[in-house]
Amino acid sequence: MAHSTFKGGIHPHKRKRFTREKPIREYYPKGELVYPVSQHIGGPAVPVVKVGDRVLKGQVIAKADGYISVPIHASVSGTVKAIEPRLTVSGNKVLSIVVENDNQYERMPIEPFQPWQELEPGERILQIQKAGVVGMGGAGFPTHVKLAVKNPKKIRAVIVNCSECEPYLTSDYRRMVENPEWLVMGLKMILSLFERAVGIFAIEDSKRDAITALQLASGKESRMEVKVLETKYPQGSERMLIYACTGKEINSSMLPADAGCIVHNVDTVCAIYQALAFRRPLTERVVTVTGKALVNPCNFNVPIGTSFAELIDAAGGYLVEPKKYVSGGPMMGISLFDLNVPVVKTSSALLCMTKDDAARFRPCACIRCGSCVEACPEGLIPAKLADLAEHFQEEQFRDLYGMECLECGSCSFVCPARRHLTQSIRAMRRSLLAKGKR
């Protein structure tokens, strides 16, 4: 039987072999750690430490500002060196707390606590916020907000996004192979909030070891299933994933909860597990450091705040001169002009591409081949939207559903004329969103 999937999509080369079989290694940072106060969607956290303060691993250094916000915790023990704007992945300078590592890794003592089963649902969600958990797949939406739906009875499926459809990335894959029981426990905790929901591990059929591991670990759980999906990009997009698992379609103005679903990333589920089982805040994450340019590509468990530049050395340095650095995957990641930026809660990978990988092409005229229409998972006409975007035709752009675009990059990937389709559409969307027009 063909595996469930969505319409459209592309099959880029996977390039996962660099790090697929590399177990997750602990990484101990050497230099200072930088914690931007804004690593999530919502209100930036407010610093609660002063320059010169000693902080412990797991200590809150910035508190949540309001409901849609989460606190930030120190990932090492050391001294606060500065609180100043620092460069981040996005290329902006963001207020950051800089901590000098004392290499003691002295943990913040954890007070005795009740087992999670004895907590009220609201209390469980509060603990998740206190642990600073956000969506670690890339968006960084605070997890407690996602979990606090108005009517928990309407949630019929909690989907763990195990698809990791971006090329190169293997951080989620390694988690699934190495610690499937964390995922099962984490999902069990989420399911405890939604009595009528089933838990689904949605995973691409190419990740056989992970499918086996999850099936074994979840075998005794009656409310969980492992759903095998076709390997296709962007299978891991929230809307595509919900469609593949449940057959329900949501658009840009709907939330997964409108389709009775909640979707969480693999690392997020692990963070929920750590938060509720051990009251451990989110202070580290798995980062795939990969690319043809590196001597020894690896999967590292990295304390948040570590500089990307350090990870290059940890991966054995350069084999050949890199030409492009990307934070995240090659389809939707952000290219960096400076590696002295910190790993944040949403950093899944550092990709070092060589000149050949990061090939630049001169765009030429559209030949109207329709490849972009075939590839678009949202059923749009990217070639037309890009034309309209390039001519600032806002009204028509919205009429052709331009605001539904996921910016997944599939259209640009397949375009034989090498047009910058995603790029033009993204620019238009951003400008319309900034004007408050949806």
Partner: protein, 307 residues
Amino acid sequence: MENRMNVSVSPHIRGTMSTSNIMRLVVLALLPAAGFGIYNFGIRALYHMLVCIVTCVLTEFTFEAFADRPVAAGDFSSVVTGLLLAMSLPVNAPLWIGFAGSLFAVLVVKMFFGGIGQNIVNPALAGRCFLLISFAKHMTNFTCDAYTGPTPLEALKLGEEVDPLFLIMGSTGGSIGETSAVAILIGAILLLAFGIINLRIPASCFLVFTGMLIFLGGRGFDDIYLVQELCSGGLMLAFWFMATDYTTSPITKRGQVLYGALIGVLAALFRLYGSASEGVSYAILLANLLTPIIEKMTIPRAFGRRR
């Protein structure tokens, strides 16, 4: 900074298919039919192809150079135009016919409208129809050393019978590249296998055309008759290689089906009731002109949106 980094917005990787790759593969897919044309009609067929291809490429290059536009003449699209045009000429037409047709096809139909991707009708087809109207005598004289008498399509129009096996293999008179259904089908299978075309347009063309013949042809479901109609004239070449032209067919999926159906209807009507023996070229040209409106009518529903 010595080694300047490449910084851009995502996506950071691209697929391998390019415009010139596509055009090269189309040329490859045309080779079986072109090769059979040379085998069937002799070396003169090859001269026609060379004249047309060289004229097309040089015309594009010269125009781009003089109009101070980026030179895209190396992308093989003009090679496709030239080859298709040559394949739709009768072998005994004078060689300057191919030159004139190519000049019209590339200069007027393609470059004057903005070059690749901008032309509103298929250049090769428009070139052929230009020749058909301007030099009807040369363009309808299909007698040559190998074959005399009417072409199969003309014979059918006169109510004569033609052996369908000859039509399928292609050992008949007609234009250079249109006679062998088998050779064209090999090319079509190549196009499908390379993922250059999909079945929406050709399938819809063939189904609707066949349906029209069954209902209006006056012979009902007569398989010999249908094979004769489908394999004679330029129909095979036109449905597989000209109707599927990217630039002049709709980009939307439903639009492609509608466009194919329209061609099927028009081609059948022209064949059954038209005065000329061949009507497929005009059917496609008309459908080309309706492409923008078909596209407008068939904007797809976005994911998660109600129509």
